[in-house]
Amino acid sequence: MNSLLLECAGLDKRFGGVLALAEVGFSINRGEIYGLIGPNGAGKTTLFNALTGIYSCDAGGFSFAGKPLAGLRPDQIAARGIARTFQNIRLFGNLSALDNVMIGRHVRTRAGVFGAILRTRATLAEEVAIERRALELLAYVGIAARANDVARQLPYGDQRRLEIARALATEPQLLALDEPAAGMNATETLELKKLLERVRADGTTILLIEHDMKLVMGLCDRVLVLDYGRKIAEGPPREVQRDPRVIAAYLGGAEGAASS
């Protein structure tokens, strides 16, 4: 299981005069849980946005499963097999949990306008399959009982789970999670850890931004540390933890590390 899934080389991203990402390079193997850490403002979410096509890169770029991702739109990248969640949860708030996950199936289904209007046999069968898969995924992340609840009214932890279910509905090879444990209590974080281990065991590679160091250390196979848009360390969590540059980055930005 050491084949390469995602490769990033020489990635630059500039906002006006600010270099948000500078010559970032790393690679993720299939089946890995790969952590992305760093003080606040290090460029972690920027990296996610560049990966998922929301930002275009100024130099360098990604290659996914052997093919470059440059110039692809977010929906095309989702179709290639990268799904993500958002740091500030972006569910379809007024829709039910079930509808949210069913929308995630969009990219793997095909019914069009005419199929919908004529209710052809193929369309009906597809609808049944979409709903069944969505219910399965809600059960998978542990919120089956919430299927008909409005997403916005779900408890915070359930919203995070729902976002994961929605992302999994796109059948990703790589699941990119932006601070999934933010705002969770210790029990919820532990349940999240189990869920992510299960996702990995079921064959999905995970890229994880997280500030909860206990979770990162316990879950990730390898970790990339960013500071001011630059890669300052990469490797197994235990090694990275002892790296003097990492310690300096976190202690130097003490309030950043403490508050998050």
Binding site: R90, F92, N94, I103, G104, R110, A111, I117, R119, T170
Partner: protein, 357 residues
């Protein structure tokens, strides 16, 4: 067994309800005809507006794209019909050929409007669509030179009514002892088309495409990250809505027999949008109710305002036209204050528009 019996009676009572409504709708034109054929015409107009509003509901209600120039597609459909079935070019194609052509041409215009506005939302989109509506109207007004396409402000007259072989929708006829006037015949045709439009709307809403529209309305960035091609899905909404407008325009041209650019002014766009908003954005039944109310109530007022004032004060103090707009404005303000999601709101839109902080 008890439960089965209950379900059975429940299902039966539902069908009894549907049958009663169907009977009422079938009998309605004759009842209205007793009050005057004008009322049948108004009923036809209400159905036509309901059809039109259902098209706009796809764009505004489902996909959440505010369109203030929607009447342009109605105009395009009307002119396509008028040009292909009138002495203007001496063409007289049958209506079942022209209506699909009208839908297609309006659809192309829908994409023409949609393509440059893909990145716009809310207020900005509203302004561009408003401009688009005016552009179409001004073109209709001025395309009489150098080549006389639209006959300018004079409009096009003597447009063919719908006919099916020898069966002409504008002629009076007596079938089985019942007098079918032209408007009554149109009523049934329009009602059938409206039913079709309702079915199309409902099926689209509960489909993969309908969910994609909901997704881009809720959060476009999340929708894109979930693999929805927002460009295509938005254009699809514009194209579908415009096609509805095109068909409605064709029917309007045939029923009126005369059209001019004046029928496609901004106020008409606002009226159709009001029907959608007042009835309940995103809810098919609400939209139909909004269209029926906003067509009938002003006509009722026109009928009552003058006599009531005469009997109360002995003279007309406020002109019916003035009081109509006054009441219309008042109704809109009250609605937005007390029922912001419309008379029959869709559950989702209600949640969105009554958001607690």
């Amino acid at each position: 067994m008890n439960i089965f019996a209950k379900i059975l009676t429940k299902a039966r009572s539902k069908w009894v309800g549907v049958a009663l409504i169907a009977l009422a709708l079938i009998a309605l034109p004759f009842a209205l005809a007793a009050a005057g054929t004008a009322w049948v015409r108004i009923a036809n107009l209400a159905i036509l507006f309901a059809f039109l509003a259902l098209g706009l509901n796809i764009v505004v209600g489902f996909a959440g794209l505010l369109d203030l120039g929607y009447i342009a597609f109605y105009g395009v459909g009307a002119y396509v019909y008028a040009l292909l079935a009138s002495p203007h070019f001496n063409l007289h194609l049958p209506f079942w050929v022209i209506l699909p052509i009208g839908a297609l041409v309006a659809c192309v215009f829908g994409v023409l409007l949609g393509a440059p506005t893909l990145k716009l939302r809310g207020d900005y989109l509203a302004i561009v669509t408003l401009g688009f509506g005016e552009i179409v109207r001004i073109f209709l007004n001025n395309l009489s030179r150098p080549f006389n396409l639209t006959n300018g402000p004079q409009g096009i007259s003597r447009i063919d009514p719908f006919s099916f072989g020898a069966f002409d929708f504008s002629r009076n006829e007596t079938i089985a002892g019942l007098a079918f006037s032209g408007p009554i015949k149109y009523y049934y045709l329009l009602l059938a088309l409206l039913l079709l439009a309702i079915v199309v709307n409902l099926r689209l809403q509960h489909s993969r495409i309908g969910r994609a529209w909901e997704a881009i309305r809720e959060d476009e960035i999340a929708a894109r990250a979930m693999g929805i091609n927002t460009t295509r899905i938005k254009l699809l909404a514009f194209a579908m809505g415009a096609s509805f407008g095109g068909v409605a325009g064709g029917m309007f041209a045939a029923i009126q027999g005369f059209i001019s650019p004046e029928s496609f002014v901004l106020v008409e766009s606002v009226m159709v949008l009001s029907m959608v908003v007042l009835g309940g954005m995103g809810n098919v039944w609400g939209v139909v109710l909004g269209a029926v109310l906003l067509t009938f109530v002003p006509e009722l007022l026109r009928d009552w305002v003058q006599p009531v004032q005469q009997s109360l004060f002995g003279k007309t103090i406020i002109e019916p036209e003035v009081i109509r707009m006054l009441l219309f404005g008042l109704a809109l303000v009250l609605m937005m204050l007390f029922r912001p999601a419309g008379l029959l709101p869709s559950a989702i839109r209600k949640r969105e528009l009554t958001k607690q902080k």
